[in-house]
C-alpha cells in the first residue's frame, strides 16, 4: 500500500486549487468574449476567434514558452509592466494558474457560446423594448439563460486544468509545495526507476478526481433538466 509523502498530498491539493482558481478567474472573461462573439459584429472578429481558439491547437509546451517570453524577466509584459510593479509571476503558483487558464480558455468560450447561441433572439428584443438597456439585458436575460453553458465550460476547464502539464512546467516550473501539481509529480516519479508504484498511485488519484467531476457534471445536468 503506497504511502503518500507530504509533497504528494501538496501536489493533490495544489492541483485542485489551481484548477478551481483558474476556472473562477476565466469565467467573467470567457463570458465577455462569448458575448462579443455571439452578439456583436466588428472588424477583427475572425482574428479574435482565431486567437481565442489557438490554445486548442497549439502544443501546451509552445503556449508555455510564449507565456514565458511574455511574462519572464525579459518579456514584453515582464520588463515593462511586471518588474516596475515588483510583481514576479514566473515560477510561482500564479503562473500555474495563468497557464491553466490560457490552455482551458477556448473550451470555456466554446461552451458558453453554444449555450448563448440557443437563446431566443426575440427574448433579447423583448427585453430591450421593455426598457432594459444592453447591460441590463445581459445581466437579467442573457446571463441566467447561459447558466448551462457556463457550467459546462467550467467543468471542462476544471478537468483540463487538473491535467495541465506542458505549459505549467515551463512557466511555473516543478516546485514541490508551490507549483508541483499531480501531473508534474507523476512526471518526476516516472523518470525515477523506483517511482513506478507512486506514479501509479497518483494516476489513480487523478482518475478518481476526474470520475468524480464527470459524475457531478452528469448529476447537475439532470437536475437542471428536471427543474425545467
Amino acid at each position: 500500500m503506497p504511502v503518500f509523502s507530504h509533497s504528494d498530498y501538496l501536489a493533490i491539493l495544489l492541483s485542485l486549487r489551481i484548477a478551481v482558481v483558474a476556472t473562477i478567474l476565466s469565467l467573467p472573461f470567457g463570458f465577455a468574449v462569448a458575448y462579443l462573439m455571439t452578439y456583436k459584429k466588428f472588424r477583427g472578429k475572425v482574428a479574435l476567434d482565431v486567437i481565442v481558439n489557438l490554445p486548442l491547437t497549439l502544443p501546451p509546451v509552445v503556449i508555455g514558452y510564449l507565456l514565458l517570453l511574455l511574462l519572464g524577466q525579459n518579456g514584453y509584459i515582464g520588463k515593462w509592466v511586471l518588474q516596475p510593479l515588483g510583481v514576479k509571476l514566473i515560477f510561482t503558483w500564479k503562473a500555474a494558474v495563468i497557464a491553466t487558464a490560457v490552455v482551458g480558455f477556448p473550451l470555456m468560450v466554446r461552451s458558453i457560446r453554444t449555450g448563448m447561441e440557443t437563446i431566443d433572439e426575440r427574448l433579447i428584443q423583448a427585453s430591450r423594448t421593455l426598457g432594459a438597456g444592453w447591460f441590463d439585458t445581459v445581466i437579467t436575460v442573457i446571463l441566467p439563460l447561459s447558466i448551462r453553458g457556463l457550467l459546462a465550460g467550467s467543468i471542462l476547464m476544471f478537468a483540463r486544468g487538473l491535467g495541465e502539464f506542458g505549459a505549467t512546467i515551463i512557466v511555473a516550473g516543478n516546485i514541490p509545495g508551490v507549483t508541483q501539481t499531480i501531473p508534474l509529480a507523476i512526471y518526476e516519479y516516472v523518470s525515477s526507476p523506483k517511482g513506478d508504484v507512486m506514479a501509479m498511485a497518483l494516476c489513480l488519484v487523478s482518475i478518481t478526481i476526474s470520475v468524480a467531476v464527470l459524475i457531478f457534471h452528469e448529476w447537475l445536468g439532470r437536475r437542471m433538466v428536471r427543474a425545467d
Binding site: D120, R122, Q125, A126, T129, L130, A132, D228
Partner: protein
Amino acid sequence: MELRVAAQKQFGTFFLDMDFTIEGRRIGLFGPSGSGKSTLVSLVAGLHHPDRGLILIDGEPIFDSGQAVNVPPEHRRISMVFQRPHLFPHLSVKGNLLYGYKRCAPKDRKITLDSLLEVLQIGHLLGRGVKNLSGGEKQRIAIGRAVLSNPRMLVMDEPLSALDDNLKFQIIPFLKSACEAFAIPYLFISHSLTEMRIMTDRVLSVAAGRVVGQMTAEQLARNSMGDSSVGYKNLLRLMAPRRIDGMYAYRWGDGELLISGGAGLQETLYELSATDIILFKRHPEAISARNLLKCRVGEMFEAGDRIGIGLECGSDKLVAVVVREAVRDLEIKKGMEIYAAVKATAFRQLG
C-alpha cells in the same frame, strides 16, 4: 398619436423605402408576406436602424440620420407583442409581467399590475412558471407584459396569427379592452382583413418595401373585394338572441336574422360573405332561405370584375357582391328597393 416615417434600409436583397405620416390611436399595417411590415416595425421600435431617414412620434424624433439622433430601444417606450409570446423562461408569470414595469420611471407608471390582472383575467396564473401554460394564456401574459411597461405606443406584429380561430376571437376582446382601458395607441400588423377591421381604424398598406396607400380598414376591405380568394366579409355584431326552431334569432335592421349553429351568447360576432347574399328584384313568394331582408340599395362600387352593392336595412348595412350581368339584368340602381336572401347556415361565428 402621429407617426411620421421617412426611411430607407437595405436588408440583403430587400430594400425598404417608406415615406408616410399617419394619425390615430388604432393604426393598422397591412400587406402580404415579405412586404416589409416587420422590418418597418423593428425600425420604429429601435431594434434595427434605417440606413438613412427619420422617424418621429408626435413630432419628437426618435431617429434622424441627419441630426445623428438615435434613441436606443429602451428609451423609446415602444413595447412589442410578437406572433409568439416569447416569455422569459427563467422568470415566473409575475416576473414576466413586471419586467417592463420595474424599468419604467415611477412618474410614468399609470397602469398597475392589479388593474391589468383584472382586464386580462390572468390573476390566477400569477405564481406559476411559464412553461406549462396554454397558448392563449401565454399570449395574454405577453400582452400584459407589454402593456404594463406603460408604453407610449404598443406595436403588435401579427399577435393573433399563431392562434387557432377560436382562441383568436377570444383574445381580441382582451387586446382591445387592455388598450382602450389604458388608452394606449397601437400599431397592429396583420395579413387578415377581418382582424384589421376589428382592431384598427386607419390602415397603412405596404408592398415590396413601399407604401401603397393609407385608408380606413373598411376601405381596405372593400378594395380587396376583387380578390376572389378573400372577397368581402360582412362583420355583424349581434346581441340578445332568442331561440326558435333550433336556431337563434337576432334583432337586425327592421326585423330579425335567423342563424343556425352559434352558441347563443349574449354578444356574438358573425361573418357573412358578400357572395353568399342573393338579390331579388321582387319579393319571391317562397324560398328555402330562412332570411329574406327588404333593403334599399345604397352605394355601388367596383369590386374587381364584379360589383359590390351596399344594402341598407333600417339602421344596419350589408354588402353583397354580384356579377355585372346581374346588375344589368335586375336593373339595380341606387335607392331602389331590393330583397336580399341569406341562408341561416351562411353565417360563420367568429367569437
